[in-house]
């Protein structure tokens, strides 16, 4: 009940704030320029002015800077003479302009966004991805209707991972690519929205942050030592399953060095709890770190070995 009351209060607060704040910083439409384009593109222009985000922002203005089709598409006089694609700035795969030239048109207005601060540093600009590759300025909403589908239209290698048995809820619509990645550029590897992998994962997986008394070093350094982010054949988004994943590093003592073969399942002649269910994690379950004490008299129930 308390949560609902506080949420309702916040909603009302925002509604009041919006009603009190009026900026009136709008611009107008250069109708003369627009009419030129209408001679051939009437349907597109009308739809843009009436139905697109840009059209409505520009239209709800007063005297001041004027916008028109030429704001984005460049001067249209030559295009009216020769009707060629090359004589006008267009957007998309068939454009006569490079991706950088196309993006420049958008950045004339939108470069002042904090989201685009590192556009020049990102992988997208390096790979000739332009604003128009993902956004359509003529649409009602400038953001892609389905962010995940937009990303997967190019990143098909990721698409195959999303259907594997273990995956983040991306296809279910609960997590999108932009929750973890900044498509507009970042200084981090993979354009992730954090300085490193772990700090990105901690944004949602707060229960894994620690700090722990007993740390698991490779876990603390990089979640991707053991996990993969998009999808995996193995449960828990693991890159390799246990016990083999654990045995790749842990060789000391008897049971890490033992072969857990086809006889060690439930129906096998040598059932082993290092193979059934969660294998090594049947006992060493606190694998991300532990706060349990160490019992010097009996190490078997010690947090030091992630047993508790």
């Amino acid at each position: 009940m308390e949560n609902r009351k506080s949420r309702l209060f916040l909603v009302m607060l925002f509604a009041c704030a919006v009603s009190l704040i009026a900026t009136g910083a709008f611009a107008g439409i250069d109708k003369g320029s627009v009419d030129k384009c209408k001679t051939c593109h009437e349907e597109v222009v009308n739809k843009f002015l009436a139905g697109s985000h840009h059209g409505k922002v520009w239209a709800k203005g007063d005297a001041g800077q004027q916008y028109s089709c030429e704001t984005c598409h460049g001067p249209g006089d030559k295009h009216m003479e020769d009707n060629s694609r090359e004589s006008i700035i267009s957007f998309g795969k068939k454009s006569a302009q490079s991706a950088v030239e196309q993006s420049k048109q958008c950045l004339n207005c939108h470069s002042k966004s904090g989201e685009l601060a590192f556009w020049d540093m990102g992988k997208h600009v390096k790979n000739d991805v332009s604003c128009a590759s993902c956004h359509t300025a003529h649409d009602a909403k400038p953001q892609p209707a389905n962010v995940t589908e937009t990303c997967l239209s190019c990143h098909k290698d990721v698409k195959k991972d999303l259907g594997k048995q273990s995956h983040h809820p991306i296809v279910e619509g609960k997590v999108s690519c932009t929750d973890c990645h900044n498509p507009h550029g970042a200084l981090s590897h993979g354009m992730i929205r954090a300085d490193n992998n772990n700090q990105l994962c901690y944004k949602c997986h707060a229960d894994k942050r620690g700090p722990y008394i007993w740390e698991h070093d490779p876990v603390e350094e990089n979640c991707n030592t053991c996990h993969t982010s998009h999808g995996s054949q193995h449960k828990g988004l693991l890159k390799e399953r246990g016990p083999n994943l654990c045995q790749n590093c842990h060789q000391f003592g008897r049971h890490p060095g033992t072969i857990y073969n086809g006889n060690t399942g439930f129906a096998g002649s040598a059932l082993s709890n290092k193979m059934i269910a969660k294998n090594c994690l049947n006992c060493h379950n606190r694998i991300h770190g532990s706060m349990a004490p160490h019992n010097p008299a009996q190490v078997g129930n010690s947090g030091k070995f992630f047993l508790r």
């Binding site: 083999n244 709890n273 047993l307």
Partner: protein, 710 residues
């Protein structure tokens, strides 16, 4: 999950499309369009067959409801969407603001995570921090008869996130963004712990872990943006509170009056970050300079258990053996990044960058003294990363690129004090044909490790001696080659074909006899086809295949005395063996959408199949041969999904949608096949609750929704 999420999201609507366009009606000064959808979904009860079917979805017999509206006035706009109202995967999103001015977003999202259904336990108190059992009910202090277990439950958690965000103003040189998100997560998740308290050799007990988390996230951004200069200050604060930090549970085999075992759960923490970012654009030589400084800290203060039960349930008082009964955790991270990109001439682009990251561990060290003393080690590291990328445009719409990256990591780890990576990459891309784009990339990595254990252990009977040969794959010598090829073909209009292949090959400690991973490979292929006849049909197909292999050496060790020198001849007690693992995944999907009557009636059908297949085989040098049969069922799964839907618009306002989903999953894995709740011998008995054993299902889902647009 949207922890710390304050960005606007429009959740996928089952059916409704939120459209704008000509206003449908006026409400005061607002032009309004709105719609609602009501209906129901029915299933065959598959949600009770397997948690996998409803892993992130709420599929049960229920009503369906969606709603949306868009509103605009002279200076204001508002968009609202509500999806799957009342269900465990419901979502609500409200965006609004003034054109060119303040913008805000409010959202609520519910995420269900079903791990497993139909589980049972001898414990009572499931969902709390105390698990006990009644000998009289379960038959004994060792509850080996699962038929007598009294508690039935599902492993499931629900995460509810509420968030708000506002940016003021949207235009102008300065801006301020504030955001808040509250995340509640509760439920039960499977956990496990060693039984009998002895290791190795003891059994395991599956424990229902109570989840009762609350996270409050705050964010603030202040920015200045000029024509060529931008500066931003970002701050976040996240408080994570776990209502149950320790799980107390009665060890099977101990009396009811004995002291419980204690398993630690997620500790509370406070996490804050502060980042300063700046960028200068339009510098000489068509350049941009960007820099970022960041600092973050994760802290907690936790009272530690001072009394725990041992393997007989006897209370062990640790007060006098631990140096402190409160742990103060403190992780600090500092980061710095600079990058300079330039297009000095039209055909050349370049970038140089440097990143630094350091972790300081300022947590308490708690010393436990006794027969086997231990003090927690504090793990720190720091990383230097630098690189250069260059690209050049050649004739015929060809672009080539090359890059070099260096990464040095220092870590206070026992095995490897530092690793150095050198990564070389080259790539080429061609667009010379209107209908064809091709890209090829190659990368080579060489990693060298400063191995620290080359002289540990006195002799081959010393348990530490084997560390001389053990290499951990994440921080050891490594050579890796990666290659990738992608082709996009559009031979005719509306036909789009994408093909891709990639290969990865890694070798660890080549030419050295070690134990640990020695090699891993990855191969992936995909094909993606879309063909569309506008206003007639749209067909898409996707197929993929992937294979990963892992090869590793191991040294079997019998009971002491041991021979831990792997270079010596094998004995029946100590010998070298190799694990050879192979995992394959493949699948395909087909989809066809047909607008039978334009703007009035459309139908769609689809089929999807995903498969996984794994195996593990072993080669042993043991002198007396022992059968080591290959594991043939190793994450083997098959999922078939069939979908059909139709949408019919009676009038401009009224329409309905009808849909059907069939999905069948089978899973075979040595770890779950022939599942037993109780297994193992008396001294190594395992007690499980069924988590993850409900893998197979056959599901039918149908839905019908009527939509009305105002």
């Amino acid at each position: 999950m949207k922890t710390n999420k304050v960005l606007p999201i429009v959740a996928a609507s089952l059916l409704l499309q939120s459209t704008t366009g000509s206003a449908e009606f006026k409400l005061g000064n607002f032009d309004l369009t709105a719609g609602v959808g009501v209906g129901f979904q029915l299933t065959n009860g598959a949600e009770n067959q397997s948690g996998y079917f409803t892993k992130y979805r709420d599929y049960r017999d229920s009503f369906l409801g969606n709603a949306w509206f868009t509103a605009e006035s002279e200076g204001y706009f508002m968009d609202f969407a509500a999806n799957r109202i009342g269900l465990d995967d419901q979502s609500y999103n409200l965006n609004g603001g003034t054109f060119g001015g303040v913008k805000y977003n409010l959202f609520y999202d519910s995420l269900i995570h079903n791990y497993s259904v139909g589980n049972k336990s001898f414990f009572t108190g499931v969902g709390t921090g105390s698990l006990v059992f009644d000998d009289a009910v379960v038959g004994s202090t060792t509850p080996t008869n699962a038929d007598l277990w009294p508690t039935s439950f599902d492993y499931s958690t629900k995460t509810k996130t509420f968030g708000v965000k506002a940016t003021y103003p949207a235009s102008g040189n300065y801006y301020l963004t504030l955001g808040y998100a509250n995340v509640d997560r509760d439920g039960i998740r499977p956990s496990l712990a060693g039984n009998l308290g002895t290791s190795p050799g003891g059994g395991a007990v599956e424990l229902p872990e109570p989840i009762d988390y609350k996270t409050n996230n705050f964010m603030a951004t202040v920015g200045y943006r000029g024509d060529d200069f931008l500066a931003v200050l970002d701050g976040t604060l996240s408080n994570f509170d776990n209502n149950i930090n320790f799980l107390n549970w009665r060890l099977p085999g101990t009396a009811a009056t004995t002291t419980a075992s204690v398993t630690s759960l997620a500790p509370d923490n406070r996490y804050w970050t502060l980042d300063g970012k700046t960028a200068w654009h339009n510098l000489p030589l068509n350049s941009t300079f960007a820099a970022k400084l960041g600092y973050s800290r994760i802290t907690n203060s936790e009272a530690l258990p001072t009394t725990i039960g041992n393997q007989t349930g006897t209370a062990v008082d640790l007060t006098n053996v631990m140096s402190d009964t409160t742990f103060n955790g403190d992780y600090r991270y500092g980061s710095a990044s600079v990058a300079y990109s330039s297009n000095p001439i039209e055909k050349l682009d370049s970038k140089v960058f440097y990143n630094f990251l350091r972790k300081w561990n300022k947590s308490d060290q708690i010393a436990y003294t006794g027969a086997s003393s231990a003090t927690n080690k504090l793990f720190d590291y720091y990383k230097h990363n630098a690189g250069v990328d260059v690209g050049y445009k050649l004739p015929f719409d060809t672009k080539i690129g090359a890059g070099y990256e260096y990464l040095k990591v220092h870590r206070n780890r026992e095995d490897a004090a530092a690793t150095s990576d050198g990564i070389i990459s080259v790539e080429a891309k061609n667009n010379s044909l209107d209908f064809l784009t091709a890209k090829v990339k190659y990368q080579h990595l060489t990693r060298t490790s400063e191995f620290e254990n080359s002289a540990v252990g006195t002799d081959a009977s010393d348990n530490n001696y084997v560390k001389r040969f053990a290499r951990f794959f994440d921080a050891t010598d490594k050579k890796q080659d990666k290659a990738a090829l992608e082709v996009d073909v559009m031979p005719i209009e509306h036909l789009d074909l994408g093909l891709g292949a990639s290969y990865q090959f890694s070798k660890y400690n080549e030419d050295l006899l070690i134990i640990g991973r020695t090699k891993d490979t990855g191969r992936e292929y995909f094909a993606d086809l879309t063909y569309e006849m506008p206003k007639t049909f749209r067909f898409n197909a996707f197929g993929y295949f992937g294979m990963n292999t892992f090869l590793s050496n191991h040294w079997a060790q019998g009971a002491s005395p041991n021979n831990l020198d792997i270079t010596l001849p094998a004995t029946d007690k100590n010998y070298l063996w190799t694990g050879d693992l192979e995992f394959r995944t493949w699948g395909y999907s087909l989809g066809l959408d047909i607008p039978v009557i334009d703007q009035k009636w459309d139908i769609g059908v689809g089929f999807k199949q995903d498969r996984g297949d794994g195996r593990a085989s072993f080669v042993s040098t043991r002198p007396t041969a022992v059968d080591n049969p290959t594991v043939t069922e190793y994450d083997d799964y098959l999922v078939n999904t069939l979908t059909a839907k139709t949408r019919y618009q009676f009038t401009d306002e009224l329409g309905f949608s009808l849909g059907y989903i069939y999905e069948k999953r089978t899973f075979e894995d040595i770890a779950y096949d022939n599942y037993l709740y109780v297994s193992g011998s008396t001294s190594a008995r395992n007690y499980l609750t069924g988590a993850g054993a409900d893998n197979d299902y056959s599901a039918h889902v149908g839905y019908l929704v009527a939509e009305y647009r105002f």
